[in-house]
């Protein structure tokens, strides 16, 4: 996989961009003149740029994290599959209406295990983005996911999902064909699986469109990913009557991996390379692979009922774990 030579800089990364530009110019001079002094200067600047990047990324606010989570150079579903899945066979269609490339899926081998892999693909180039509808699925995407999960259950393959969507597609056609029902059924299918399921929020975890393929035994988030009930822009336009206050909404809604770990909504955070996953994709993907492997290992030994019970317990506990009350309070159902 080609490395990103010149990452697209985000607005808040301007100081880094300026330093990088200076380094480039100096490098060009050094090549011409061959002067040693220039090279020392470049090394100094390089160190300065790295330090600035580290400082900047150490304390990203929720809105900046949202921008990183949406960065076009961030690893996408196809990158994860290329790097992590062997013998990959992509599968298409929901067998009901059509094929939706906003959610891709297939089967293959992940570090020795047979798996079904599912995830949103946003695409990078304009034609790709259009083909994948920017990662916003229609009902067919969710119904394809259900079909592949059925197959995983039938043949005993583990399910891995990579979540990266702004949300389900808000279109007339999607509504006409039962977007809500499709999402509900996909969520239900995740929860009833008798095989291990591990989900990673790799970029944006946008509302129902995300949870539909993320109701897993083990849910992980990349360090700079976000997961929320509504996009910051959407929340801002409702709460403040202005999409411009997305930053405030992002902060108020507590959408970062660090927040969600605190709430007990996710099971772990996968650290990203310095300056975000888009700056060293291969490293980020490997870290994701390692975390997924570890999660699958932890689920070993659970049979189908055990896996369903673990999943039920995991989700029933969310929210209750924030109270002092034991989780069995109020006569609520136990997992099983």
């Amino acid at each position: 996989m080609p490395m990103v030579d010149r990452p697209a800089f985000l607005d808040f990364e301007k100081p880094i961009a300026d330093l990088e530009k200076k380094i480039e110019e100096l490098n060009a001079t050094a090549e011409k003149s061959g002067a040693k002094g220039v090279r020392t200067e470049v090394a100094k600047l390089r160190q300065k740029a790295n330090q600035a990047l580290a400082d900047l990324y150490q304390n990203l606010d929720p809105w900046r994290r949202t921008q990183v989570a949406r960065h076009p150079d961030r690893p996408h579903f196809k990158d994860y599959v290329d790097e992590l899945i062997g013998d990959y066979v992509e599968l298409a269609g929901d067998r009901k209406f059509g094929e939706d490339a906003a959610i891709l899926g297939g089967m293959g081998r992940f570090r020795g295990r047979r798996v079904v892999v599912l995830g949103h693909e946003k695409g990078r180039t304009t034609p790709q983005r259009l083909k994948h509808n920017f990662g916003m699925a229609r009902p067919e995407g969710y119904r394809k996911a259900v079909r592949l999960m059925d197959m995983a259950d039938k043949f005993g393959l583990s399910v891995l999902t990579f979540v990266d969507t702004a949300g389900a597609y808000p279109g007339l056609d999607a509504e006409a064909r039962g977007q809500a029902e499709a999402i509900a059924r996909a969520t239900e299918r995740c929860l009833t699986l008798g095989v291990p399921m591990v989900s990673v929020i790799t970029g944006e975890g946008g509302s129902g469109g995300a949870v539909a393929i993320a109701a897993a035994n083990h849910v992980l988030m990349l360090e700079n990913s976000v997961y929320s009930v509504i996009s910051p822009e959407g929340a801002a336009s409702i709460l403040y009557r202005s999409a411009d206050r997305a930053k405030d909404a992002a902060t108020a809604m507590k959408i970062t991996a660090q927040d969600l770990l605190g709430f007990g909504v996710i099971d772990g955070i996968i650290a990203e390379p310095l300056g975000g996953a888009h700056r060293a994709r291969a490293n980020a993907i490997k870290a994701v692979g390692d975390a997924v492997e570890k999660a699958l290992y932890q689920l070993e030994g659970l049979d189908a009922d055990g896996l369903r019970a673990q999943r039920a317990d995991r989700f029933y506990r969310i929210g209750r774990s924030l109270a002092d009350l034991p989780s069995s309070a109020d006569g609520a159902p136990k997992a099983g």
Binding site: A168, Y169, P170, G171, L172, A174, E175, A176, R177, G178, Q179, A180, E181, I183, A184, R185, T187, E188, C190, L191, T192, S207, G208, V211, A212, A215, Y227, S228, V229, I230, G234, A235, I238, L239, Y240, D248, A249, A252, M253, K254, I255, D259, L260, F263, V265, A312, F315, Y316, I318, G319, L322, A323, A329, D330, G331, A332, P333
Partner: protein, 280 residues
């Protein structure tokens, strides 16, 4: 996600709030603007002469539903309040306080147990008047509890949905109510107990995309707004006007998402028949 719907028809909400005042003998018809005699409306279960099904709360739902207008009210579980310490123009805790004062209930869900045409059932009603019926931790726990009551009593669960969607003020914890309520429905399925959804105006967002669309039977009241995405968002996305009747009950019936559209005054008889047929 309640406020955009609140803005759609603020008049109705105001009317429903005021309905306890004795001097409010007349109610304005939201369609024709005519004044309707309150007693007539009450006798027609808040269906206007033109057939509009006005929004009603849990008390009336239970009254219209259960035999002898009698039921056992079941408490809804307490949850951790305001885990996000959420604040926009107003603090979430203050919004909760206001909603509680306005409705006299803790949160958006009410649970009742009684007989419908002689068969026992647990009913769960979402109150749109409480922050737009929004699905938060309290509503999610209430749903789970209602399912457990149905399991314990070996009877069907009927859920009357009415909500703008998930409660933004609880962030990701509100989104998590989608899988949580889905789990409870799965428990009913495995126990062989019917889960019936009655979709009322409005049912949108995360509520539609979870427990509102997972029933064995989907019944909708006429003219109810039912959908996933908001209409304004859809119009902005596709840059065209939406067809008349889009996302209404009749549209969903035509598109295969609901089984029956039933007049409120026929609802109890329909539910009784359905339950009678499903129970072993």
């Amino acid at each position: 996600m309640n406020s955009w719907i609140d803005r759609l028809r603020p008049g109705i909400n105001k009317l429903l709030q005021k309905r306890e005042t004795p001097d409010n003998l007349w109610v304005k018809d939201p369609d024709s603007g005519e004044m309707l005699y309150r007693v007539d409306l009450e006798n027609s279960q808040w269906v206007t002469p033109s057939g509009r099904h006005m929004r009603i709360g849990p008390e009336l739902r239970f009254r219209y539903l259960f035999d002898g207008e009698s039921w056992l009210a079941i408490d809804t579980p307490k949850v951790v309040e305001d885990p996000l310490k959420f604040k926009d123009d107003k603090r979430y805790v203050d919004r909760l306080k206001e909603a509680r004062a306005k409705t006299g209930r803790d949160d958006a869900m009410a649970i009742g147990y009684g007989k419908i045409g002689g068969s026992h059932a647990v009913a769960l009603v979402q109150d749109f008047n409480f922050m737009g019926g929004s699905l938060g931790m309290a509503a999610g726990e209430a749903f789970i509890k209602a399912a457990q009551e149905a399991l314990d009593r070996k009877c069907p669960l009927i859920c009357f949905t009415a909500a703008g969607g998930a409660r933004m003020q609880e962030g990701i914890l509100s989104l998590m109510q989608m899988p949580r309520t889905t789990l409870a429905i799965d428990q009913l399925r495995r126990a062989g107990l019917p889960y019936i959804v009655v979709l009322t105006d409005p049912t949108t967002g995360g509520v539609t995309a979870s427990y509102a669309m997972l029933g064995d039977i989907h019944i909708a009241e006429p003219g109810a707004l039912i959908g996933f995405a908001g209409q304004r968002v859809i119009e902005q996305t596709i840059r065209q006007k939406l067809p008349p009747g889009f996302q209404r009950s009749e549209y969903l019936l035509e598109h295969g998402m609901v089984d029956i559209v039933v007049d409120r005054r026929e609802l109890k008889a329909t539910l009784a028949r359905v339950i009678g047929l499903l129970k072993a």
